[in-house]
Symmetry: C2
Subunit: 249 residues, 2 copies
């Protein structure tokens, strides 16, 4: 289970240019294995997106306790990455294809003035939001739907997903958190949901607009994605006989 | 009332090299006044130290509402600085010499694993700390004392200060906060207090060691200063007829 502060990363996936989570992880793994190792992950988060519960898997010959490997990797990883749990997985385990659900949190600060210390981790929205309208709309996202209006599939053309949880809660000092759990997400799906729900919270769209938006099956009908820095991958779950990804305790 | 995230600043005070809070503030003021303006502050914080309640004062001819100047300055300031309140002051007001008290908070994360999102704002201490011993020791810091063991004076040789508040409180997930209020602080005084109290919390010094440390009047007897990034200047108070510095509401 891997956490990272997405601020200074060009996303999870390794690429020719730019610092990536996968790139840093591969460097640490290579120093331990003295050979290149390619980790697999549960979901390739975009540039700027954070994680506390990303799940990665890799093949490595290790004779000692898993906790020692965790310590060794954390000592090699940069300060904006942290392995919070490390366990042996069953043979052939795939963090992506074996995942049963993913949970993201989107943090939004709804008040006139910004917060200096939250500016990397919460989207600042000055104009007041109607939380009840946003939650009414969020409810319509739950269930099995074709989410073609909310993102493109990473491969193939199946845009049907199951959303199990989609709700806003209010914290202190104007902090609003959107929790969304689905079996899997389309590209930008969580952020397009948030962008659309914010427009509903401003009264620019009706809270009853979600069913027609789903029916439209057209990306242009939804709002643009909300900024990446509010989003955090917090949990990925697996069948009990494999491994359970979890946020740090 | 000025806040800043100290992470990317070489301290408050302007200097030949390095990005400073004062330097950024002077740039914003010069763009509004079309002339150089030198602000005065309540306390020159070190590199890496944060503020939510720094108080600055400057002379500027302004025909409109103070709130409009605040908005204009905030629009010109970088995202890691924020003016949270702006009021006219009495003629000759000095944020430094008129201040009655300063309050700092020091945030410390006492648990085995770090927090990715607090790493710029809290000092991570893995080894368990005895909070009761630290609070017993903190109590001995209160009152009028010669604090020569805890820092050098910014000018002259008077090292007597009055500490009104010095206490630790425990928050969630291992977060400990030291709140300290004094009429004025010596250089590094808050951080040397924290460094010393942490040694007491580890059992490396006795909780009853503070009175002899004060009596020694020798900087070498105390612990090194705790890291800058845990410290935040949260409040400066003034006589009621001048101006009251306060943290953002």
């Amino acid at each position: 289970v891997l956490g990272y502060d997405g601020t200074d990363f060009a996303g999870y996936q390794i690429q020719a240019r730019g610092r990536t989570v996968q790139g840093e992880l591969e460097q640490a793994l290579a120093r331990i294995a003295r050979a290149p190792i390619r980790p697999q992950c549960a979901g390739r988060t975009d540039a700027g997106v954070h994680a506390t519960g990303q799940v990665v898997a890799f093949d490595l010959a290790w004779r000692h306790e898993p906790a020692e490997l965790q310590r060794a990797l954390n000592a090699l990883l940069p300060p904006d990455m942290l392995i919070s749990d490390l366990q042996p997985a069953v043979a052939g385990f795939s963090p992506r294809f074996d995942a049963v659900s993913r949970t993201y949190h989107y943090r939004l600060l709804n008040r006139p003035w910004p917060d200096l210390f939250q500016r990397r981790y919460a989207y600042h929205v000055r104009q007041p939001l109607d939380l009840a309208a946003m939650n009414e709309a969020a409810q319509a996202l739950r269930g099995w739907h074709d989410f073609a209006s909310f993102g493109k599939p990473p491969q193939g053309d199946n845009t049907v997903r199951q959303v199990m949880v989609a709700r806003w809660s209010a914290g202190e000092n104007g902090l609003l958190t959107f929790e969304v759990t689905a079996n899997a997400f389309l590209y930008h799906m969580a952020r397009i949901m948030v962008g659309t729900l914010v427009q509903i919270g401003w009264g620019h769209r009706s809270p009853t607009a979600i069913p027609e938006l789903l029916a439209a099956r057209n990306l242009r009908c939804a709002a643009p994605p909300a900024p990446a820095h509010g989003l955090c991958l917090v949990k990925v779950t697996y069948p009990a006989d494999q491994i359970e990804g979890s946020a740090p305790k």
